[in-house]
């Protein structure tokens, strides 16, 4: 995968200089009885200053684990992570802290990620003290942070406890806390999925604003591929720990190539397609695309991880795991049957002279 992956240029590369690289990163968890869970398998991508890369996938696909690896919260099983071209070493306490001052994390649940016994002031003061040492005017610093995330009047909000804030306000505090360290990279793990639909957009535009203002390199993790379309420059689709498709956000969402991406796109609620699907019942929803298996066994142990659910799977898919095959300079998909899955993107049989049956 590495060779092909490096051949692809990231759609986010045009935005700014390279900030962070994940090179063939893997993470295994031992889950007892000698079994191993391959949570992240040979994943490579880059983050660029001022650009948003979205990591899209269902729960359990390994997207959060990938972010935790980047955040230095988990040890890599293999591969390497580089920050500003230098390999990351977080083995010592000091190195870890230094690393954290550059790479910050925003958690999904604003209700669980703030300490209920401390005020907003405490939540913001601590990272400022930890990462920036003595600040001459702490009060001005805190007020500036609060204003960056539009929590005004700042003084009033600084004195509040988390339970006095709405979900959106809490998530703003989380953003301010992440910004307190003046990071260059922000890892946002489903930052809006716990919020109401009506304020999600506001929070995303706030993140977008912060990205521009501080030219942050941002990793946006989500299961909502529609928000990735609007918010991200590049979309990486993850399935069972592997990146199965990557490319510019608009292209991937409008013309998905991998059968799994096609399933994701088909599953998203589509209000403009009124009544054509759900209300018609099963006949409508199972009309096309990948089969939705009811069995828990959704991931293959050998071959392509999506093959048990894939309508196009054939023998080769069950035996050999495909690598990311380039479609264009910025786009790739890991699928042996791309010629059948996306004939408009890959006209001829790729490489091996495969003959399409469908």
């Amino acid at each position: 995968m590495t060779e092909q992956a490096t051949m692809l240029t990231s759609a986010a590369a045009a935005r700014g200089p390279l900030a962070m690289e994940a090179i063939s990163v893997s993470k295994d968890f031992r889950i007892g009885r000698g079994q191993t869970l391959h949570a992240v398998r040979d994943v490579s991508f880059n983050l660029y200053r001022g650009a948003v890369v979205a990591l899209v996938g269902e729960s359990g696909s390994g997207k959060s684990t990938a972010a935790r690896l980047l955040a230095g919260q988990e040890r890599l099983t293999s591969g390497a992570i580089k920050l500003d071209g230098k390999p990351v070493d977080v083995s010592s306490h000091r190195d870890f802290r230094h690393y954290k001052s550059q790479v910050q994390y925003v958690f999904q649940d604003p209700f669980a990620s703030l300490n209920p016994v401390h005020t907003v002031r405490y939540h913001l003061e601590r990272p400022v003290k930890l990462h920036r040492g003595r600040v001459s005017d702490m009060e001005a610093e805190l007020i500036a942070l609060m204003e960056q995330v539009h929590l005004t009047p700042a003084r009033q909000f600084l004195a509040k406890y988390p339970h006095e804030l709405s979900g959106g306000q809490r998530q703003r505090v989380s953003f301010a806390r992440a910004l307190a360290a003046r990071p260059s990279v922000l890892l946002a793990d489903e930052p809006v999925s716990m919020l109401d639909v009506s304020i999600r957009l506001e929070m995303l535009s706030l993140l977008d604003d912060l990205r521009k203002r501080f030219s942050l390199a941002m990793l946006y993790i989500t299961h909502d591929i529609a928000s990735a379309r609007y918010f991200a420059d590049e979309v990486l689709v993850m399935y069972a720990g592997e990146i199965v498709e990557r490319g510019p956000a608009e292209e991937v969402t409008q013309q998905p190539a991998h059968p799994y991406t096609q399933l994701l796109v088909a599953s998203a609620p589509d209000p403009d397609n009124l009544g054509s699907t759900l209300r018609r019942g099963a006949n409508g929803t199972r009309r096309q695309g990948a089969r939705r298996t009811r069995t828990p066994e959704r991931v293959a142990t050998a071959g392509c991880p999506f093959s048990p659910r894939c309508p196009l799977a054939e023998d080769r898919c069950r035996e050999e795991d495909p690598t990311l095959l380039p479609i264009t300079a910025t786009r790739g998909a890991a699928c042996w049957r791309l010629d059948a899955a996306a004939p408009e993107l890959v006209p001829g049989p790729p490489g091996g002279g495969h003959i399409t049956e469908i």
Partner: protein, 372 residues
């Protein structure tokens, strides 16, 4: 329990699905939460009906009172919640004459709950008992509400799992051994265990990812067609309801702002809030459009502002809005008399143009605009 005085009765909203009367008819229901800081008017004189075989979507943001409304109608609320007025008429096929749920005695309620009205609760993780296996939980429900022999009950647990597409081998599984989607399916199986007339679904798929969500929703619709129950579907995701529901009620700050069929609401939203919601989610298909969201946050329900509760966040508001009666009236421009709105001032044609800008911006929640 009488309707709130000082409010004119609202014309009965008939359902487009069936000619017969509604199976559940909520009239002028009001619920308050007694708090030391004053009463929180969580549900304020709400009218909503559910016809046999219909899917009604109840949509609103957190704190809008959508769950309180439905739980109140089923008498599932505890102090400090208090029902202060209204009536909830239930008339299912199995009952001889319509009865007011709010006046029922405990033993009547016992017969109503689950047998007639079942609920699928929001978080399947917490709603299942972690120390009982799937079969025992299902048996519990069946024995509590149906008088059938033990063998028959056991057979029923197995057929219930077939119904929701879980292999029978999972009967002995405990909740922690099931995936999120499977747990939600078990919850649905439990709700359907007694063949209820009305199934209330409180955000049944919010915690699930889109592929599983769609799968479960398709199954719900399939089961509805097969078994013929009605669904009250509570969610904050309007985009989901547009695909799923026959009629949609939009709730805000304890009041209903608009009711209409899914296609009416999508084509011609008449309330600025509905319009705002429709413009809040990024669309996956079609051209990229400018998204606006809804600036501001809902009002404090301890001292609700006079008139329209949405006024502080509304881009079209006028001074007349401060005195408006929050009655649902038919939308003048709509051909469908069942499309009702609480906003008499803004016509759908006006909504097509951009608003003049928010009247006032509450602190901390400025307008969001995601440039594309």
């Amino acid at each position: 329990m009488t309707a709130n005085p000082g409010r004119a009765p609202v014309p009965l909203i008939t359902s487009p699905v069936a000619g017969q009367g509604p199976v559940l008819d909520i009239r002028d229901l009001s619920v308050v939460y007694r708090t030391p800081g004053g009463d929180v008017r969580a549900v304020d004189t709400v009218n909503l009906s559910l016809a046999p075989g219909e899917v009604v979507g109840l949509c609103g943001e957190s704190g809008s009172g959508k769950s309180t409304l439905v739980y109140g109608a089923c008498r599932l609320l505890r102090a400090p919640a208090m029902i202060t007025g209204g009536s909830v008429t239930y008339s299912g096929r199995r009952v001889t004459k319509p009865a007011d749920v709010l006046l029922m005695r405990p033993e009547q309620l016992q017969r109503l709950r689950w047998r007639e009205i079942a609920i699928v609760f929001q978080s399947a993780m917490n709603a299942l008992n972690p120390v009982l296996n799937v079969r025992d939980q299902l048996l519990d429900v069946i024995h509590a509400h149906l008088r059938i022999p033990r063998d028959e009950a056991r057979e029923r647990t197995a057929s219930l799992l077939d119904l929701v597409g879980i292999p029978r081998s999972r009967l002995r599984s405990y909740p922690h051994e099931l995936s999120g989607g499977m747990r939600q399916r078990v919850m649905i199986a439990m709700a359907l265990a007694t063949d209820p007339e009305v199934v209330i679904m409180d955000e049944p798929t919010t915690a699930l990812d889109v592929v599983v969500q769609r799968d479960i929703l398709a199954q719900i619709v399939e089961l509805k067609e097969e078994l013929g129950f009605s669904i009250m579907f509570i969610t904050h995701d309007l985009s989901l309801l547009l695909e799923l529901a026959d009629r949609i009620a939009v709730m805000y700050a304890g009041q209903l702002l608009e009711i209409g069929t899914a296609s009416e609401l999508h084509r011609e939203p008449s309330h600025p809030y509905t319009k705002g919601l429709l413009n809040s989610f990024p669309s996956l298909r079609g051209p990229r459009r400018d998204l606006a969201g809804i600036p501001g946050s809902p009002p404090d329900l301890r001292s609700p502002p006079p008139g329209c509760p949405f006024l502080p966040r509304c881009g079209y508001g006028t001074s007349a809005c401060e005195e408006v009666d929050m009655h649902l009236l038919p939308v003048a421009s709509s051909k469908d008399p069942d499309h009702v709105t609480a906003c008499p001032f803004v016509l759908p044609e006006t909504l097509a143009q951009p608003p003049r800008g928010a009247r006032q911006e509450p602190a901390g929640e400025p307008a969001g605009e995601l440039a594309t």
